[in-house]
Amino acid sequence: MKSKIKKEHLKFIWIFVLLAVWELTARFGPVNPISFPSLAVIASALWESVITGDIISQIWFSMGFILTGLLTAIILSLVLASISTFSELMDSFTDTLVSVFHPLPGIAMLPLIILWFGTGSKAIFIIIIHSVIWPMLLNLKSGFKSVPEIYRKIGQNYEHSMAGILFKIFIPASLPFGLAGIKIGWARAWRAVISAEMVFGATGGKGGIGWYIFNKRVFMDTPGLFAGLIVIIGIGILVEDLVIGKIENSTVKKWGTSQ
């Protein structure tokens, strides 16, 4: 039998199967409803958070942080990567930075960050930048290195300036690497924000999605906790499949530089 089901549809079938198993276990399994609520209860908790606007404003808050942090980190890593392509000395310097800081999880730096920057938005911002900048830099550097030397020479023949060579040749030619870096950076920033919020609590104003989950935990609102997790999964899928997927389709895939 040849499978006529498309790959995307298969994903939905699997999700449905998992949900069915969950519901059956919650209803008929030997589980405590306090720790294993049924889907209906979770759905109504989610609905309630959406109606009161809590979860929406908290997602907004977290996303705002991530976007500004992500952008700053991308710009910083672009600068570092560009300098490295034009100077051997800087190249070894950034290599050293990456090998020192890349393996260090943001959450492990938390105690130090609290001591240095307190527990406010500054601290969260630093954690995001730390989580994004190193994988981004690593990707950009390998991207720039993959650009054939002859391209650079063509740029020089056209008498482009350094910036011209960078923006017209290096960045477009290494875009698949850059996008992969953004993908990793986004995932790491998202995790960093959630874990940081769960450790410090609210960070200015309403607090984000991590604080939402933390609050549900301390008030023992397990359905609400699951609602928060579902929202996190949903946003992850949305950003990765839709936003980043769209960018890929209209750039690297369209140009044929990546599959």
Partner: protein, 320 residues
């Protein structure tokens, strides 16, 4: 293809059904207690050191579990990994409200608790959006007392809820002293006294004043399964708490000497705290009604208890 599907489905369901199955064969002479540190928990340490439970019931074994905080204790009790936990009344009521089968077995202690602020902050109204208040966690007794004060002074119990930072007592002390955005710390003995030694910080709220009457800062709670399943052990436990409390009240000097082995404090300091007039070791559970009424009114609980027997085991001394 279809067969494969069914097979995988079955395998997955098996995987999940395993989660809930608990080992029923619990030895009925073992009690699992969360060990906690601090002046307010002093009787627990005495109970452990003097092996009171083991002496009160022949053949009893006590397993002392290390837990990070009240929430972890509560979760462990839901998962049946713990029989006895010590906590303040508000986190207990939150669990009860959510359907946990547990009740108060004994009162334990009151120690000074209050909100320490930088002296630039003269009242609750002075908190700006950038000021942060460190406390152990939302839903803790510190948080509920803060909400009570906010309700009284500012008319809105939750007005400062988004200014909270969750930090353990020692971390909260460091954060306050570091002088960043944490400008207040709702804490208890001995951190309270340490912070107030500096002239830069004042006591803005005192727990008892906010509450308006005496209350138990810490109570002992046991699960229904333990109460019903091991009545002998339950009795031995309650008796041991009473003995530990009496020991501290009658021999504070000796108690301080024992505690100094476990706590990172000198004997004199401990003696000062445990024999302070403001501290009170007492097995009567006090203040449940007022906490419950306020928490229902402010929306932290969905329902209050009707009869004290709903939340307190039989024969436990209490004053609502």
């Amino acid at each position: 293809m279809r067969k494969k599907f069914i097979l995988i489905f079955l395998l997955i369901s098996l995987l999940f059904s395993g989660c809930g199955a608990q080992e029923d064969a619990k030895e009925n002479k073992t009690v699992r207690i969360a060990e906690q540190f601090g002046i307010a928990y002093a009787p627990i340490q005495i109970m452990k050191h003097q092996k009171l439970i083991e002496n009160n019931l022949y053949g009893a074994t006590v397993v002392w579990e290390q837990m990070a905080n009240t929430t972890a204790i509560r979760e462990a009790m839901v998962a049946d990994k713990l029989d006895v936990g010590f906590m303040a009344i508000p986190p207990f009521l939150i669990g009860w409200d959510k359907g946990m089968e547990w009740k108060i077995a004994t009162g334990l202690s009151y120690v000074p608790v209050g909100l320490v602020t930088k002296n630039t902050i003269g009242s609750l109204a002075d908190f700006g959006t950038d000021d942060r208040i460190a406390l152990p966690q939302p839903g803790s007794v510190q948080h509920i007392l803060l909400s009570m004060a906010c309700k009284d002074e500012l008319g809105d119990a939750g007005i400062l809820d988004n200014n909270l930072v969750t930090l353990s007592h020692p971390d909260g002390l460091n954060a306050l002293m570091a002088g960043n955005e944490v400008t207040a710390h709702f804490t208890a003995t001995p951190y309270l006294e340490t912070e107030l030694e500096s002239s830069e910080y004042d006591l803005l709220l005192d727990g008892r004043e906010v509450f308006g009457q005496d209350f138990s800062f810490i109570v002992g709670v046991t699960t229904d399964a333990f109460y019903q399943g091991s009545p002998e052990l339950y009795d031995a436990f309650v008796l041991s708490v009473q003995e530990a409390v009496d020991f501290i009240n009658q021999n504070p000097q000796e108690a301080a000497a024992i505690l100094s082995e476990y706590y990172d404090m000198t004997e004199e300091e401990i003696l000062k705290h445990i024999s302070s007039e403001k501290a009170d070791y007492n097995t009567t559970a006090v203040g449940t009604r007022k906490f419950s009424d306020f928490m229902v009114e402010a929306g932290y609980l969905s329902k209050g208890y009707e009869d004290p027997g709903d939340i307190i085991w039989e024969d436990v001394k209490y004053e609502e």
